[in-house]
């Protein structure tokens, strides 16, 4: 029984982890149809922000929850202004440019901080004991944060003017531009927002996975697959795909081993895309956000 509860929490964390690393990418993809190959590096930059800040005496919570999203969000806006905005409607060129950006980020961070960084931050919040099993309190915290982030996203989409535009764009990009919505500004805000959410995720994961200049490569493929499996709806898509893929991955990894767990995740994604070529939200939850 202890094992079941403890394992369930572990799998829930796996799902939250997927959602967390994918959400920023989903925002950018869902609203702008832009595939950001530098997404993994945005996560990495979030992590570095936290490391540099805490090493300079900033409180870890402020570093993770305020500085990481702020810094990466600003980087996102700058990148959008300097690079992405020249490439709207050229999805493949965006792919190439963001791949270049990803290499650039890795190179820059390596030049600045070296190949490996002394990260002395450890996950706060101690240990939760369930019978004979223990879990990381910080992992539980991440589950809660992910849930809150999704709720906040829901509220933002439902209640704010930007959310209204976003909903329109998700349903039909041409329509909203025909309605005279100033898309360039919206795009800039969206990209910045996506980057900020990604920065937050990177910051939050830094204590538990550590940061290296090349850590982005670990995340990018998974985030990609989650977003595409989820479909166009940002929140329901990310959430449903994370639950499904995270669940498959967690259970199989526990029963067999980590590699088969990874393979199971990928196979699940392929089967899913065969059955639902437009992703989960292309078939179910069509009215979802």
């Amino acid at each position: 029984m202890d094992l079941v509860v403890s394992l369930a929490l572990q799998i829930l964390y796996g799902m939250a982890n997927l959602a967390l690393i994918s959400l920023g990418l989903a925002i950018v993809f869902g609203m702008m149809r832009v595939i950001n190959l530098a997404h993994g590096e945005f996560l990495m930059l979030g992590g570095y922000t936290v490391v540099v800040a805490t090493n300079n005496g900033v409180n870890i919570w402020i570093a993770m929850l305020v500085l990481a999203p702020l810094v990466v969000g600003v980087i996102g806006v700058v990148v959008e202004r300097l690079l992405i905005r020249w490439l709207y409607g050229r999805m493949i060129d965006t792919l190439l440019a963001t791949w270049g950006l990803s290499l650039l980020c890795i190179g820059l961070v390596t030049s600045l901080f070296g190949a490996s960084t002394a990260t002395t931050i450890s996950p706060p919040l101690g240990v939760i004991t369930i019978g004979a099993y223990t879990s990381s309190g910080y992992e539980m915290f991440l589950i809660v944060v992910t849930a809150l982030l999704l709720l906040a996203g829901y509220a933002a989409l439902k209640l704010t003017p930007l959310g209204l535009v976003a909903r329109g764009t998700m349903q039909n990009a041409e329509m909203s531009s025909a309605l005279g919505v100033s898309t360039p500004r919206i795009y800039m805000i969206t990209f910045g927002l996506g980057a900020a959410v990604t920065g937050l995720a990177g910051g939050l994961l830094a204590p538990i996975t550590g940061v290296l200049p090349t850590i982005g490569a670990v995340y990018i493929a998974k985030a990609f697959i989650t977003v595409i499996s989820g479909g166009m709806a940002i929140l329901t898509g990310t959430a449903s795909a994370s639950v499904l893929l995270g669940g498959v991955n967690g259970i199989v990894a526990f029963l067999t081993g980590p590699t088969i767990g990874e393979v199971a995740l990928l196979v699940a994604a392929i089967v899913l895309l065969r059955l639902m070529p437009r992703g989960i939200t292309g078939t179910f939850f069509r009215k979802g956000l």
């Binding site: 004979a132 992992e139 550590g210 850590i215 980590p258 990874e262």
Partner: protein
């Protein structure tokens, strides 16, 4: 018009492809050519960067002292960017293009096995200065790093005596991890223990949650880790975050050689036990001087020193000793000299080539991690590579060039 343009492109690309050769020849005019191929970017750089730093330091020191046989050493450093394909390309370039006198190269066993045949084919002396799973039997290849019989064989009984006999093994999923896990299983059984489970992790795994649950379920007395690379560092963090480091201690065959102990916090790492042929904390004059020279050279940016970094330095010096003794940098003469018992007294103590295996007899230290530095608990002097000695005798048959453990230990006739 069209014809001209295409012709231009073809000539331009031909010229472009040719130019590294031209540059290479110009640089390598009269010095002794020493090529280093080590990953300085992408994933494996946590190992490669300090190794390149110490290699440069060794060559600079030798040159500052008047070079070798009155000639300077020309050092060329290639960065294969953690790509096997670039490894083979640079190996070919070093051998056929630069006509190197010696190449010090490779970090993972994968890269070593990819380039070793190239150096045999082109008859270029090859040094591999990294701790590994043992089993290379190649007249042309000198493996100066420690092997499991030198380190793991000490580490397993020590930690089992201290913590208990049930051992949970986790290892990186490639041949270093696979074969090292078999060595661990063997040594655990030899010492009357029980290897309860063995699990392998691809190098890009960062979520160890399910495994930590399995460890909790299996309740071993200790965990033996042979994890590799930057991503795997997260195991130690997540293990500590789940409160596990307080209840089930970890020993490792790899932790620290990528300076992992500087990447995680003191609390996360405290209590881990490892055995290598070098620790920065070794207390002798030679090492203290070495560490000081290294710090002075690189200033505040200097990384911590570990077996890989120290052995890259010592490897260069052993080769230099052999060249001096042979009186030439010519390959066969240097091989002869190396195999005649050349030794170098460096920061790790005496390192001496063992002629039956082309491996090194070396000192081994066992240490416990405390507040991000290793406290040396035991010292084992002049340890021979008994694992490779089981399968390799280059004195009897010098024509060999194989990796004996390619198919695992059982296939090599070793009972696990």
């Amino acid at each position: 018009m069209k014809l001209n343009r295409r012709h231009f492109i073809a000539t331009a690309s031909a010229a472009a492809l040719a130019s590294p050769a031209i540059i290479g020849r110009a640089l390598a005019a009269d010095g002794i050519k020493f090529v280093s191929i080590l990953d300085q970017s992408n994933g494996l750089d946590i190992y490669g960067k300090p190794m390149v730093d110490t290699t440069r330091m060794a060559v600079d020191e030798i040159n500052a002292a008047g070079g070798l046989l009155g000639r300077p050493i020309d050092l060329k450093v290639y960065d294969p960017q953690s790509s096997i394909q670039l490894y083979t390309q640079f190996a070919t370039q070093a051998a056929a293009g630069d006509r190197a006198d010696v190449v010090h190269a490779g970090i993972t066993s994968a890269s070593r096995e990819a380039i070793r045949p190239t150096f045999s084919r082109f008859q270029v002396l090859y040094f591999y200065n990294v701790l590994y799973e043992g089993g290379v039997c190649d007249i042309n290849n000198f493996c100066t790093g420690s092997t499991p019989a030198q380190t793991v064989e000490k580490l397993v009984p020590y930690t089992m005596n201290k913590w208990g006999k049930k051992v949970y093994i986790i290892a990186a999923d490639y041949n270093y991890g696979q074969i090292t896990a078999q060595w661990v299983q063997k040594y655990v059984r030899d010492n009357g223990g029980d290897p309860v489970a063995t699990e392998f992790f691809p190098l890009d795994v960062t979520n160890f949650g399910p495994t930590i649950k399995k460890i909790q379920q299996a309740r071993p007395d200790m965990v033996m880790s042979a994890l590799v690379g930057g991503a795997h560092v997260s195991f130690y963090r997540q293990y500590a975050a789940a409160g596990m480091n307080a209840s089930i201690p970890i020993a490792s065959t790899t932790f620290g050689v990528g300076n992992e102990h500087k990447l995680i916090s003191a609390e996360e790492g405290n209590g881990m036990i490892c055995a290598y042929s070098y620790f920065e904390e070794i207390d002798n004059a030679a090492n203290k001087a070495f560490v000081k020279r290294f710090r002075d050279r690189l200033g505040a940016d200097a990384p911590a020193l570990n077996e890989l970094a120290a052995r890259a330095y010592e490897g260069a010096y052993i080769w230099a000793e052999a060249v001096k003794q042979a009186g030439t940098a010519e390959r066969m003469a240097v091989i002869e000299a190396l195999r005649s018992g050349v030794h170098y007294d460096g920061p790790s103590g005496r390192v001496q080539i063992e002629p039956r295996t082309n491996h090194a007899n070396q000192n081994v230290y066992l240490a416990e991690l405390k507040d991000q530095s290793f406290q040396i608990l035991e010292t084992y002097e002049n340890q021979p590579p008994t694992d490779t000695l089981l399968v390799c005798d280059l004195v009897k048959d010098p024509s060999q060039s194989t990796f004996k453990f390619e198919n695992g230990l059982k296939a090599a006739g070793i009972d696990i």
